[in-house]
């Protein structure tokens, strides 16, 4: 079959044979075409088959998977009919893949130059001298600083963003006509992500490459892609231009995904998309999305909707795409307001001059080198958290936000400073020395529920732990209380006998939340609790935390790298850089001018699923390993740096004078008036 499209996938089904000899389909009759110079975004929740489809485009199937029917053509070559050697020539040459975790995809024992040389040698025949020049040329194409020095470095000497750039450089080495990107910016800091995306966008345009961009992040897709393909349960449910899809999605699933994303301009919490997608192999009658769809009727539950092409050049798999406006209005009502904060003025937790250090140079090295000890990882943190408020802590990785939480929980001992509970109890540094009463009052929820729930414990055992420990419950009392807790996190009694491995990501995090609330805590520490979850699930978890707060008046300290998430849930926000406070204040004030220069950089880099907004890149994305010994923590990256004063003097705390922005403090040498 010949076709005009560059990458042409027709009616592809991919599946595996289960141990009970059933054929389980992961992709069902998927068609996708990409033209030269076109970039297509592939979106969907985890398990929707998007990565499988991207890998199938290069004729690769994960172990056990195989193409059941359909065709994959690349540049009019049938990729499914090639043998291993022929595929190898195309992969990495004309068709390159940039994987998600570049740190793991680089060989740790090989210098950067040699890794790129290896990729070059496979797909070109240059002379040795031309070779080195070409490597440097490729490295500068991906905008890596000082490429000549870089070729002698090892991957671990580079930051995450630089590693990702090297991975892109390796992909470019074969001068590809098409790039497959599998979540290339997931796990990177916001500023780094914004830089990488701009780079990809420019590369695709300059070289007229076809791109298939797989991501769960609609913000990233809106920045890079011309067209969007939305996948659900192994099927394509919507294709269209990214403008159409992101501004006025016609499929209820795409609509749900978009409303579940928290946005900076929005005052309400994002609307959760309830339910979960069907697992591969689960029997589906009718539309796969019918169970979660507000527009579903009897027709949807019995007949599977075909993929129909609309006049607007979109293709959609839905009977009711003309009624999508109803969905928009009905969901407006569901929007949850942030729980109103009761202004009690009562401090529940005080952090006084908190300083934490990880760096412990040995006595001997310090004695011999006679150098001053390295600056503390976290220093000079003074925050009073009021009863019933939610304090958001934001910052990039290495900003010390999780370290502060662990110190409050007693898992890390501070270098100096104190943690005062309820204005009178000074908490001991170590958790072992704290009385049971204080332990109960502070509970922590971790980032990844896969890691924070013991894989060998059932939900019943998980919930029983705090209930036995703090309330000595047993027998029927224990069971009743566990069921009540599950109800509060909207899970049924039958979950008690389940293992974590039998739960979805969102359900696991709900169990982790239930375990924290089992202690009836006054303060709950949330450490990136939604980062490991899909956006739709994230919205549901945020909503749950909000409801629990309304009911119980719990105080949250909410750590996240995602500024929009923090905005959605927090009353007050503290921005941290290198373990030092840059800005703190009511969340509305922090997200408005005047900004601390770092807040400004962070906000500029936030990607929103809106084709009309472009991120502004003001500071470079270098990662610093340790804070500067004196002066402003942000001095080395600050785009508004004044000069020597920033390097030598600790910036003063400037308080906003506006009455509405009470308690808005910016630590900067630049006068507030100029911080816009």
């Amino acid at each position: 079959m010949s076709s005009s499209s560059f990458i042409d996938i027709q009616n592809l089904s991919v599946g595996y044979t289960s141990r009970s000899q059933k054929i389980i389909k992961v992709l069902r009759d998927v068609s996708l075409t990409i033209n030269r110079g076109e970039s297509v975004g592939l979106v969907g929740e985890s398990g929707s088959g998007k990565s499988t489809l991207a890998l199938a485009a290069m004729g690769y199937f994960k172990r056990g998977l195989r193409a059941l029917n359909g065709s994959v053509h690349f540049n009019n070559i049938n990729m499914l009919g090639l043998d291993h050697d022929e595929l190898q020539k195309i992969r990495g040459g004309n068709l390159a893949l940039i994987p998600q975790n570049s740190g793991q995809s680089l060989t740790p024992t090989m210098r950067i130059g040699r890794q790129i040389a290896e990729a070059l040698r496979l797909h070109s025949d240059l002379s040795q001298t031309a070779f080195d020049d070409r490597i440097i040329e490729i490295l500068s194409q991906v905008r890596l600083p000082n490429p000549a020095a870089l070729i002698n470095r090892y991957p671990h000497e580079l930051s995450g963003g630089q590693q990702q750039r090297v991975a892109i450089a390796m992909a470019l080495a074969g001068q590809p006509d098409a790039l497959l990107l599998d979540e290339p910016t997931t796990g990177l800091d916001v500023t780094t992500q914004a830089h990488i995306l701009e780079l990809l966008r420019d590369l695709a345009r300059d070289r007229n490459m076809a791109m298939l961009y797989v991501s769960h992040d609609l913000g990233a897709i809106s920045r890079v892609c011309d067209n969007v393909v939305v996948m659900y349960a192994g099927e394509v449910v919507l294709t269209g231009s990214s403008r159409q899809t992101l501004l006025a999605p016609k499929h209820p699933y795409a609509h749900g995904l978009l409303t579940s994303i928290p946005r900076l301009k929005q005052k309400e919490l994002p609307v959760a998309l309830d339910g979960r997608p069907p697992m591969p192999g689960e029997a589906i009658t009718g539309c796969a999305f019918a169970d979660r769809c507000a527009l579903a009727d009897d027709q949807c539950r019995t007949t599977s909707p075909p993929l129909t092409r609309l006049e607007s050049a979109e293709s959609i798999r839905c009977f009711h795409h003309d009624k999508i406006d109803q969905l928009a209005t009905s969901s407006q009502k569901v929007k949850q307001r942030k729980a109103a904060r009761k202004d009690t003025g009562e401090t529940t937790l005080g952090l006084e001059d908190l300083a934490i250090t990880y760096a412990k140079s040995g006595f001997l090295t310090q004695f011999l080198s006679n150098s001053p000890p390295p600056p503390a990882t976290v220093d000079n943190i003074n925050i009073n958290i009021e009863k019933g408020e939610t304090l958001g802590l934001v910052g990039e990785s290495g900003s010390g936000k999780s370290t502060i939480l662990k110190t409050i929980a007693g898992l890390i001992s501070p270098k100096n400073g104190g943690i005062i509970l309820n204005q009178d109890t000074k908490l001991t540094a170590k958790v072992e020395d704290r009385p049971s009463m204080n332990l109960r009052q502070i509970q922590m929820i971790f980032q990844n529920p896969d890691d924070s729930l013991n894989p060998r414990h059932t939900v019943a055992q998980i919930l029983a732990q705090p209930l036995r420990l703090y309330f000595q419950l047993s027998g029927k009392d224990l069971h009743d209380r566990s069921v009540k807790l599950l109800e509060q996190v909207r899970l049924g009694e039958h979950y008690l006998s389940r293992l974590p491995s039998q739960l979805s990501g969102g359900e696991k995090q709900r169990v982790a939340i239930a375990r924290a609330f089992a202690a009836e805590p006054e303060i709950v520490l949330c450490d990136e609790v939604t980062s490991a979850l899909d956006v739709s699930v994230q919205a549901a978890v945020l909503d749950l935390l909000n409801v629990l707060k309304k009911e119980r008046g719990t105080t949250y300290i909410f750590v996240s790298h995602d500024l929009a998430v923090v905005k959605a849930i927090s009353d007050r926000v503290a921005v941290l850089y290198q373990g030092r406070l840059c800005e703190i204040g009511p969340s509305d004030a922090v997200y408005q001018a005047p900004f601390h220069p770092y807040t400004d950089v962070l906000l500029g880099a936030v990607l929103e699923p809106d084709p009309d907004t472009a991120p502004t890149l003001s500071a470079d994305d270098v990662v610093e390993l340790s804070p500067p010994a004196k002066g402003c923590p942000f001095q080395r990256r600050c785009p508004k740096k004044l000069g020597e004063i920033c390097e030598n003097q600790t910036p003063p705390a400037q308080t906003s004078i506006q009455a509405s922005n009470q308690g808005h403090v910016i630590h900067c040498h630049i006068p507030l008036k100029e911080l816009h």
Partner: protein, 293 residues
């Protein structure tokens, strides 16, 4: 009630793991081989056609026939009867020594893993140094000093085969204690004992079970080697290692004396290894994957 669910679940897990184990070809074959040998070891005295000590000089090194299925050895004893009973001593000794090895090695390994830091580092180097000596040398020193009765062999095997278990238990402990559920338990204020018992042990135990199965097969081989060298069981007790050693000299013209015990010993060891393999897969701790290249 929650307690009841807990117990029911633990039973369920054992059952699911067992079901998964036998549903795999390696598990089904391995487990049936092991069961076959265990049953045989118990009933062999009653089903053996001849007395294992009965010597008949007319039959010396006679070839297999309808009466003596595997022929006779150099003393004219029935090889088939002796092969049937030849695993009893080995299974008894290793059957007791293996759990002992896993228990003490596991205990010390978990302890090292928990202590961590410099002390752990120093102690592990001692373990490494100990492991670098050939095992047979160390064992022979003990046996020569204390004799080779069952009462000496069981603790000796248990001791030497517990040392490698330390490494496994320590590594598994290191894997688990860094995980958030342990931090979470610590932040809640659970006692150290409770964290070890509830959070750590269930996760380390899986690795120890598989390691135990592997150690068992190694230990069987070691026991047979000792017998082969003349330090294991004493004649006339039938033992595969000893039988192979005895028949070795006549192998060129009377190979039947070796074939029976060799097949018996290898089938048991292969059975144990296959079971251990399938067990690791059934427990979900087998990380071996087909290489992509």
């Amino acid at each position: 009630m929650a307690q009841a669910i807990t117990h029911q679940f633990e039973k369920n897990r054992a059952l699911t793991v067992l079901k998964d184990l036998v549903s795999r070809p390696s598990g089904a074959i391995g487990l049936s081989l092991v069961m076959f040998h265990l049953v045989l070891a118990i009933i062999s005295p009653y089903i053996a056609p001849y007395d294992y000590k009965l010597q008949n000089s007319y039959l010396m090194l006679s070839a297999p026939d309808a009466v003596h299925w595997l022929g006779a050895d150099h003393l004219g004893r029935d090889v088939f009867s002796r092969t049937l009973m030849g695993g009893r001593e080995a299974l008894l000794v290793t059957g007791i020594a293996t759990p002992l090895a896993v228990i003490w090695g596991g205990f010390i390994g978990i302890l090292f893993g928990l202590v961590g830091g410099r002390l752990d580092e120093v102690l592990m180097r001692v373990v490494d140094a100990f492991l670098s000596l050939p095992w047979i040398l160390k064992m022979l020193v003990i046996i020569v000093t204390f004799g080779s009765g069952t009462a000496v062999l069981i603790p000796t095997l248990a001791f030497f085969y517990g040392v490698p278990v330390i490494r496994i238990a320590r590594a598994a402990t290191h894997d688990v204690i860094a995980r958030d559920f342990v931090w979470s338990a610590k932040a809640r204020g659970h006692s150290r004992i409770s964290i070890i018992w509830r959070e750590l042990l269930p996760n380390v135990l899986d690795a120890l079970m598989v390691e135990g199965a592997m150690r068992w097969s190694w230990m069987l081989l070691a026991f047979s080697s000792l017998s082969f060298l003349g330090f294991g069981v004493s004649p006339p007790t039938p033992d595969w290692g000893l039988m192979i050693s005895d028949a070795r000299g006549f192998m060129s013209f009377a190979p039947w004396g070796v074939i029976g015990p060799v097949i018996a010993l290898s089938s048991l060891i292969i059975g144990i290894n296959l079971t251990a393999d399938a067990l690791a897969k059934a427990l979900g701790i087998d990380r071996a994957q087909k290489a992509p290249v």
